[in-house]
């Protein structure tokens, strides 16, 4: 495959509610931040690809307005996915593989604040057999957490450790929404939110946006000292129906991790898109990550979870750590759908 690297990443600070600006205005600082960090303008970009969903924006074709803000004149080569920005990055990576273009701009964004997010997400479910029951996303995750406890593989205390560690890590992340230092034991003293999940086991609801710039080979090397090379990237899906899956494992993550080559070398850091604490444990197992891997040093989705964007942020966070020279090889993961239905895994690495 052609060598493609992440050369720039920018995100908006994650907050619960951004009422004063629209989505386009919310997104612009991320795009211009990513471009200016590598001294580029939109005219230097070969391909643009974005991820968003009309259901959170509340209008059809909502991505069309953001395209205006990005600046598509003269006309550009561009595409859009109704998926997390991590998949927009995948499309851009495929496009750059064709060898005709050297740079790509990838962005994603969502405001969850205008609606009731767990209720909005019920609209993803089978419209005939499940959606009429309005099972919210937290309750579905709680079913998964319960089956994980029932498997005997993990305990609520281990959920709480993930929750505590994530928010403690987030103290070092200026873009995080939830950051605090409380012990796992203290969290276990909380009441259940939706049993067996406590509030601290759940991601916050976030408005936010992010942008990544990809470049090929020498173009990447000319722009930054240490590009974060995409050594492998793959994504897989499972049936949406919870009854058709073993919820205690993530088979799609396992396949994607294998195809992306996670096991081909040592992993220093992993950013896993786990909106619920128990999902991090499932993902670690699916990817075969050893106990010495630094998981979610950004605080992960438990500290900031902008929809359609939290997956792309995972990739950007790993890339930033590689480009800064802190680590050499890392895994980034993105998820979509109820209970880890669809998963993407990317392996990033610094120059050998």
């Amino acid at each position: 495959m052609r060598d493609i690297a992440i050369i720039s990443f920018a995100q908006t600070p994650a907050v619960r509610r951004i009422p004063e600006v629209n989505e386009v205005e919310m997104l612009m600082p991320a795009i211009h931040g990513a471009l200016s960090q590598v001294d580029m303008t939109i005219d230097d970009i070969g391909f643009t690809c974005s991820g968003s969903t009309d259901y959170l924006a509340g209008v059809g074709f909502s991505f069309v307005s953001t395209l205006d803000g990005v600046g598509a004149w003269p006309p550009i080569q561009e595409s859009h996915v109704e998926m997390d920005g991590a998949w927009a990055l995948y499309e851009a990576w495929v496009k750059l593989q064709l060898g005709e273009l050297d740079t790509a701009l990838v962005y994603s964004y969502a405001k969850s604040s205008p609606g009731d997010l767990p209720m909005v997400l019920t609209r993803q479910l089978d419209p005939i057999t499940v959606a009429p029951l309005w099972p919210d996303s937290v309750s579905l995750a709680a079913l998964q957490a319960r089956s994980l406890l029932d498997s005997g593989n993990y305990t609520e205390a281990q959920f709480a450790e993930v929750a505590a560690r994530s928010r403690r890590s987030a103290l070092d992340n200026p873009n995080a929404q939830l950051a605090w230092d409380r012990s796992a034991a203290e969290l276990l003293g909380e009441d259940y939110h939706i049993a067996p999940l406590r509030k601290s086991d759940c991601a916050p609801i976030t408005d936010g946006a992010a942008c990544v710039i990809l470049a090929a080979g020498d173009v990447a090397r000319s722009k930054v000292k240490r590009p974060a090379w995409i050594r492998g990237i793959d994504h897989r899906v499972e049936p949406i129906h919870l009854g058709l899956r073993d919820l205690t494992v993530s088979e799609s993550t396992r396949i994607a991790g294998e195809k992306a080559g996670v096991a081909d070398g040592p992993i220093d850091v992993a950013e896993l898109h786990a909106p619920f604490s128990h999902q991090e444990l499932i993902l670690r197992d699916a990817l075969g990550l050893s106990s010495d891997v630094n998981i979610n040093p950004s605080g992960g989705a438990l500290s900031a979870n902008p929809m359609m964007t939290a997956g792309l942020i995972r990739i950007g966070e790993v890339a930033n750590r590689i480009s800064a020279g802190d680590v050499n090889r890392g895994v980034a993961h993105a998820t979509s759908g109820p209970c880890l239905q669809q998963n993407l895994v990317a392996v990033l690495e610094g120059e050998a």
Binding site: R2, T48, S79, V81, Q124, D234
Partner: protein, 389 residues
């Protein structure tokens, strides 16, 4: 670093109609996908990846419906990808799918596009108000009518051109068993007498609102060679291109959009087309309102600006003309919005393969599929041919 060759080796579509009450969304996409697999002599397990496209999710009221359709489309354990680029999405989806093979990632990709518009009211789903943006409240017809009036003024085209396009496409549609509209009684006079909806667009010059799906199986060079060896002509993809331009930009010309012209120039260059009018044998283009036939003939370089309507008037674009356009009846006969672009791409591939049945044109060696969306701002095109590129 080169691109791998790709060909269309399987094509399937549903029977399109106003309401497909006999099938769910999953049943609808599966009907098209199963037909494409049968056509490709493949089964679900042969497929490496699935790429699905559709227009706004509000049309059916399911958020990111590919998630619940993954199972019906046999995607378990496979990559599944969802594209949404407005009305051009059926075309863009096929292009994104083809790139997975061009990049050497997969050998056999199933791509599906659909819309089940009976689940909602498309015209109003298109008109949801956006804060700080001028409200449309008129559906697509109200948006495009001024573009058409501008075209008529600039080209001095006579009034009847739009009606000629509508008559031709509706008559072509009668020959297409999958088409939504089969208007056996249609005549020039019946079109002329139909209600004026958005001047100058009459009711009979407007696309219907359809339920329908289209599916293509794309194969690598090896897969396509094997099909050829078994006597099944593949439609080789000789070029693909996409272009986007903003909604609001003072520089835009919505009658002759620069994005459309650049998209066409790009795809012709890839396919080695220097004289589009001569080098292309047939075209399936996205004509949701009759007047877009002459407008796109000009935008895509088949006629000089201001001259496209003469091709229509002279009958060049008829099924028996020297430059057939929308042999299938086009969007004017069938419009499940998300699928309409892929139907154009698939129909032209059928022409190239010689499998279009009663609306087959003789001797199509190379054809163009075209889709557009948004406010004439998103463009997707491909060139397919009998010959390996």
């Amino acid at each position: 670093m080169g691109k791998e060759r790709v060909a269309v080796v399987g094509i399937g579509q549903t029977k399109h109609q106003a309401t497909r009450g006999d099938v769910s969304m999953a049943g609808l996409v599966r009907e098209a996908a199963q037909r494409a697999l049968d056509d490709a002599h493949m089964t679900w397990t042969d497929i490496d990846a699935v790429v699905i496209g559709k227009a706004p999710d509000f049309f059916e009221g399911v958020m990111m419906p590919e998630l619940f359709l993954a199972d019906a489309l046999g995607a378990t354990g496979k990559p599944m990808f969802r594209v949404h680029t407005a009305g051009s999405v059926g075309g863009s989806t096929a292009i994104v799918a083809s790139q997975l093979i061009q990049a050497g990632l997969h050998e056999r990709v199933l791509t599906v596009a659909f819309e089940k518009q009976s689940e909602s009211e498309a015209m109003w789903a298109l008109s949801l108000p956006i804060p700080f943006t001028p409200p449309l409240h008129a559906g697509a017809g109200g948006y495009f009518a001024p573009h058409i009036r501008s075209y008529i003024r600039r080209s001095k085209a006579p009034d009847h051109i739009g009606m000629l396009v509508a008559l031709k496409d509706r008559q072509n549609g009668i020959k297409n068993p999958y088409a939504h509209l089969h208007e056996h009684e249609i005549s020039f006079d019946s079109i002329k007498e139909s209600m004026m909806l958005w001047d100058p667009i009459r009711y009979a010059e407007t696309c219907p609102s359809s339920d329908g799906a289209c599916a293509l199986v794309l194969g690598s060079e090896k897969v396509a060679d094997d099909a050829m060896a078994e006597g099944r002509q593949p439609a080789w993809i000789q070029g693909t291109a996409m272009r986007s331009e903003p909604t609001l930009s003072a520089e835009r010309d919505t009658v002759l959009p620069l994005g459309g012209a650049l998209c066409a120039a790009d795809v012709y260059k890839q396919a080695g087309i220097t004289n589009p009018r001569k080098d292309v044998d047939a075209v399936e283009m996205y004509v949701p309102f009759s007047w877009f036939e002459p407008m796109w003939l000009e935008n895509l370089g088949f006629a000089e600006p201001g001259e496209g309507w003469k091709m229509t008037e002279q009958g060049a674009t008829a099924l028996d003309g020297d430059f057939p356009v929308n042999m299938s009846g086009g969007v004017l006969c069938t419009n499940p919005i998300g699928a309409s672009g892929m139907l154009r791409f698939g129909e032209i591939a059928m022409q190239v393969r010689g499998t279009a049945g009663e609306h087959q044109v003789d001797g199509v060696r190379r054809g163009v599929g075209h889709a557009y969306g948004g406010g004439s701002q998103f463009f997707a095109m491909w060139v397919v041919g009998k010959d390996k590129p």
